[in-house]
Assembly symmetry: C2
Amino acid sequence: MTTELTRDKAFFAFSPDVDPVVRVRQGDEVVLQTHDCFSGQLKTPADTLETLDWSITNPATGPVYIEGTKPGDLLRVDLLEVRATGPSVMVAVPDVGALGDVITEMETTILEHTDDAVVYKDRVKVTQKPMVGVIGVAPAEGEVPNSTPGGHGGNMDCTLVTTGASLYFTVGVEGALFGCGDMHAVMGDGEVVICGAETPGIVRMVPQVVDITGLPTPFLENDELVAVIASAETVDEAYKMALYRMHGFLTDVAGMSTNDAAMLMSLTGDLKFCQVVDPLMTVRFEFPKYVLKEFGFEMPR
Amino acid sequence: MTTELTRDKAFFAFSPDVDPVVRVRQGDEVVLQTHDCFSGQLKTPADTLETLDWSITNPATGPVYIEGTKPGDLLRVDLLEVRATGPSVMVAVPDVGALGDVITEMETTILEHTDDAVVYKDRVKVTQKPMVGVIGVAPAEGEVPNSTPGGHGGNMDCTLVTTGASLYFTVGVEGALFGCGDMHAVMGDGEVVICGAETPGIVRMVPQVVDITGLPTPFLENDELVAVIASAETVDEAYKMALYRMHGFLTDVAGMSTNDAAMLMSLTGDLKFCQVVDPLMTVRFEFPKYVLKEFGFEMPR
């Protein structure tokens, strides 16, 4: 059975207190239409952040109540498809983002989509690599605005969150209260002016509770690699979190020795930036699956 | 004319006060044999850091006096070949590197080389991607130990420093006093336990003074992209330096507008880690050449 949610079913903070808009069963496909991060308010270059209704920025479609999930469960979300439907929008804003103090004039630009690219100012065709910026579950308590990443997921802006990836989250409340949005047709690692090609889109996903003791979340898997994603107030804090969590995964879950895990992280793993412009900074550490396989470990399916 | 330097011609700090071992002409090929970062002292698992002569670690082959270079010149070094000759060595050391406090037992492991891979403990074959860890010129004054990266280059541990890359440095003293070493047969971004596959090797390069006003150095170019490389006490400082320098390059050198440079950095550029384990931390920002071309800019040759 497939459940489809339109993009008007949006929420703006991950929280136990936001009522779910739909209930789905584990293993069933869910199709989520998503808004761009401005809820579609910027349609032409004349639409700038000055006239924006900020209360409806960073929408996520949902929350989706996933039946049979309870606090502490490990939820795997398989992304069957992440498709950008366009058009995309980008903004440059004085004092905003990691380059805000060189930007003096606010600007909005619309990027039309071709089959496989977005077009920047009729000048540069950039191949699409659609990805989901905001994705997660409700935390056990409190509320986290969708602008902010954290242990529950949220605005991680990780370019690996795309078709074929599986995300793992620790369920905070009964039903998980999953949601996602903030798709980018393409974005560079860092997202330095606070946006990629911000686009509406469609996400097809299947949720499933799985049993892997000790998996550090948020965690990501695709055909080639596994990755931990960590967010903190500074990049220096975030990268240390990512390193220790990956080392913990390799030793405690994958069964490698302390030194093998550390040396193979140094030799074959990659520490990478996700974004440096949200209220917390996000990095990831990627580790290749072929190495895990040589140590007799495969992610359970 | 080709000049060849054997790996016993090594120095341990970039400084105006280290005498050059050879003089070469611009445009001539120079072949540098390089030691591994331990000067070949670790030959078996029984050789540990406890018995190491630290005064000869991080050797660079040189210094090479490049005729006709003077302070303020922009020196381009074309890397014709970066070849790892093996075997490689890795170490894990308590309290050293970004994972030092989980490592309790010192360990040395030797990685034999096959044609295109290194072999970790007879268990994991890792495809070689040879790169040079230490590369640079003497600073205008003072001395910088080879363990440390900076504006002169040095221990940047950037995985892009490989066959086909061109590096740009600002000459600090007459003759430039170029050198390189610390090759890795392969290394992950981050270099989290302080080493990759540390190997002896051979670097074939051609030095040439070029005229590009305002290029932020150290700067790197390959077929696909340009990159700025920035080092600072924290990653948070280093990434900001990298962003501003790339933005400065795109506006002042490549002629893009402030907003186009910033938005296209966000859309098509990547902020990446080089290493987080040296006395200063190093990051790079990569920007694709095809975008520069659409703005009518190509790196002069």
